[in-house]
Symmetry: C4
Subunit: 231 residues, 4 copies
C-alpha cells in the first residue's frame, strides 16, 4: 500500500515541472495515508529528471523518517503541521512558483478579482506574517503552525492555499494531485491579479455575489460544474 | 452530419490548449448547425488530453441536451443566447485566457492602439457590466442576454469579442475555428495594449483613419489581404 | 537562380514562427536579387504550417508580380520602397512581434539602454509618425517612403530597424536571414527596454562611449567579435 | 585531461539555451584547471546548434590562446580577471539573460526580497558602475578588474553574481555547471524582484534573520538541505 502512495506522490511531484511551477528542486509534494498516520514526500534536493517513485520518503507526523534511503524535503515539518491542523486534507504542495512567490515577497494578500479565483478559492489568498527570530529556531515546524493559526476558525478547504511572507506559497487538497492542481490555480490567479492591477490601479475585488455564484457552481451540494452527478 | 459537426467542434476545442488559451478545463468552443437549430459544445469539466470527438454534446437553442452522454459546458446557456441574438455567427468560444481575463478583471474596455487590433476588431473591445444579484439567479443565460443587449444596434461581426467584467472573454466567428482565431487575436491584442500603456501611460488610441484602413484591408468588398480573390 | 532565392526566402520566413515573432500570418520576409531588380516575398495570408518554397512570389521594384500563383504579401509595396531607398540592403522583414509592436503602439523611440542594443543598433530605434489621411490612400508604398524619408542622410545599415506608429516594426539586413536576425534582436531589445523602465522609471540611456565600444566590437574594420578574421 | 575540461565546458555552455538564458550567441561559459592555470571557454560567435566539445578554446590567465582553432569569446579577458581575483571559483558565466540584463540596464542592485534569493545569494546582487572612457580602452579586462575591486574584502562565493551597468550579468561557481546554476537562479531572482516591486512599490527587503536562516540551510557546516550528509 505504501508503494502505491509513493507512486502517487511521485506522479504528483512530476506535475510541478510539467506546469512550470519549479526551477531545479524548488518544490515538493506530499500525500498522507490517514489510516496509518504516515505521509510520503519528495526527497530533499534530488533533481526532477532523476526522481523515481522508490525515492519518495515515508515520514510520520512527527517528521521521523519511517522508510527511505534519502533525507526527506527540508520542508517536511511544515507538511506535517498542516496535516495535523487540517484533518480533511490529503496532500500538500510547496513551490517557489514565480507569480505566487512575487506576491509573497510583496507581502500582500491576493484579492479576488474574478471568477477564475472564485471558482477555487473563497475570498482573498492570505499572506501570513514573517516568523519572529525566536520562531525561526524551529523554522519549518513554526511555518506550519503559523499557517494553522491563521486558519483557526476558518475553512481551510475553501481557501486551499497560503503565501508565506518573503518566502512562497503552500497549497493543499484532497490528495497530492489535487494540491498540485491548486498550486497551478494559485499561480494563474497571482499572475492575473498582478496584471489586472497594472491595467487598472484602482480596481476593486469582484462583487461578493459573483464570487459566491462561482464558488458554489463548483462546490457543495448545489454544484453543477463538471460531470459529478451526470452519467 | 452531426458527426461532422462534433468532429469540427472537437478540433476547434483542441486549438485552445495549442494556443495557450486554457489551463485545465477553463474554456469551451461550440459551433451551430443553423438549419437544424442545434449546436455542439464541449462537455463540462473533461480534460483536453482525454477529450474525443464523440464526447461533444448536442444541444438545442433552449439549452436542452439532444444527444451525448455527458453534461454540456456549464456556459452552454450563454452560447445559446449568443446564437439567438447574433444570427450570422456560427461559432462561440469562452476562455479564461490570462491577458483578456486580466482586462475583464480590471473592468476596462480595450482601446484600439494599433493595426493588429484594427485588422480584426472595429473599435474598442467592450467590457460589459456585472450582473445584478437578481440576474445572477439565471447566471449563464443572463450573461448571454447582457452581451446581446450591449450589441443591440451594433455590428457584432465587426467586433467579434467581449469581456465580461470580473470574469473573462467570449469571442465568436463564422464557425468554431474562426471563433478560436478571434480568441487568439483578442489575447494578443490584450497583451500588447497592456504593455503599450506601461511603455506610455499617456497613449491614445490609433487614429480612426488608420483603424479604418486596416479593417477594410481585410473586410468588405474592397479587401485585398490574403488570397480571397486571387488564383 | 530564382529558385534558390525562393528557397532562401522560404527558410527565412520559417524563422519567424521559430523565434516566436509571429501569430498566424502576421509577418513576412523578402530578399532581393539586386542584379535582376527582383525580390521574392511571402504570399499574403498563407499559414506558415502550409508554406512551401515554391509559394514565394517574385516581384519587381514597382511591386508587379513577375512569377508566382499567389498574391504577394499586402506589405509588398513597403518592401519595394525600402529596397529602392536603401541600396545596400538585401532583405526586409515585417512582423507584429509583441514587444516591438507595443512600443510602436506607444509611439515612442526605443532608447539605447545597454550593450545588447548597442551591439546591433547605433542609437535609438526610431518610431516614425502616422501617415496623413492623404498618404493613407497609397498606404503600403507611403509607409516605405516615410521610413526612407526618416533615414535620409542617416546610415540605415547602422540602425537596421524602425517602428511604424500604431502599427509595428520593419527590419532589414544584408539578406532575408540577416533581416530576421535583426527582428529577433529588436524584440529582445524592446522587451528589456520596457522592463528596464519598469525597474527604474528614471533610467537614462547607456553612456555614448559604451554604445560606441560595443557597436564597433561587432562592426567596421576594428571589429573583433566572432570568427571573421580568425582561422 | 583538457579534453575532459572541454567536454565539461561544452556541456555547461549547452545549458544556457536549455534554460532560456541566451538568444543567438549572447553568452559564454568557462571552467578553469587551477593546477595548470588554464581555462576552457566557448569560441566567439559560434551558434549553439553547431557547437561541439572540440570547439572549446584553451586560454591561459593572460588571455593567450594555448589550444583551439577558433578565437575565444570576446569576454575572455573578463573571465581571466575573475579567476585571478577569486581564487576559489572554478567556473564563470556571462549572459544577456533578459531579466538580469534589465536590472543591469536600470543600474540597480537587486534587493533580497525573499528566500529564493537568500538560498543562494547573501544580500543584494550588486550592480557595478560604468567604466570610464579611459577604462573602456581595455574594456574586457577592466570589466573584470572592476568586479574584482567591488568584491575586495567581501566574500565572492557568498554572492556569486554581479550586474555590469548597462551591460548584463556575470555569475560564477565551483565549476562551469555551478556557475550556470547561479545564472539561472539570478534570472529567476531578477524576475521575481521586478514583479514584486510592481505588486508592492513600497516593498522592503526580507528580514535579515530570514535571509540568514535560508542561506545557512544550504551553506556552511550546519547546512541541512539536500543529501550532502545523508545516506
Amino acid at each position: 500500500m505504501l508503494e502505491e502512495l509513493k507512486q502517487k506522490v511521485y506522479l504528483a511531484n512530476m506535475q510541478l515541472p510539467k506546469y512550470g511551477l519549479v526551477t531545479f528542486t524548488w518544490g515538493n509534494v506530499s500525500e498522507i495515508d490517514r489510516a496509518r498516520g504516515l505521509f510520503a514526500i519528495k526527497p530533499s534536493g534530488i533533481a526532477y529528471e532523476e526522481l523515481r517513485p522508490e525515492d519518495m520518503v515515508i515520514v510520520d507526523l512527527d517528521g521521523n523518517v519511517v522508510e527511505g534511503k534519502y533525507r526527506p524535503s527540508s520542508d517536511t515539518a511544515t507538511h506535517a503541521e498542516l496535516y495535523k491542523a487540517f484533518s480533511k486534507i490529503g496532500g500538500v504542495v510547496h513551490t517557489h512558483s514565480p507569480w505566487a512567490t512575487s506576491w509573497a515577497q510583496a507581502g500582500r494578500d491576493i484579492p479576488c478579482y474574478g471568477t477564475t479565483h472564485a471558482d477555487y478559492i473563497f475570498g482573498a489568498v492570505p499572506c501570513v506574517r514573517n516568523l519572529t527570530k525566536e520562531e525561526l529556531k524551529d523554522y519549518e515546524a513554526n511555518t506550519g503552525k503559523l499557517i494553522a493559526d491563521h486558519f483557526k476558525g476558518k475553512d481551510a478547504e475553501a481557501v486551499p492555499c497560503v503565501l508565506c511572507r518573503n518566502h512562497g506559497p503552500f497549497t493543499w487538497g484532497k490528495d497530492g494531485m489535487d494540491a498540485v492542481h491548486n498550486a497551478v490555480v494559485l499561480e494563474e490567479v497571482a499572475k492575473m491579479a498582478s496584471r489586472c492591477e497594472m491595467i487598472n490601479p484602482n480596481v476593486s475585488p469582484a462583487p461578493q455575489e459573483l464570487q459566491d455564484k462561482h464558488y458554489y457552481r463548483k462546490h457543495g451540494s448545489n454544484a453543477y460544474y463538471g460531470q459529478k452527478t451526470a452519467q
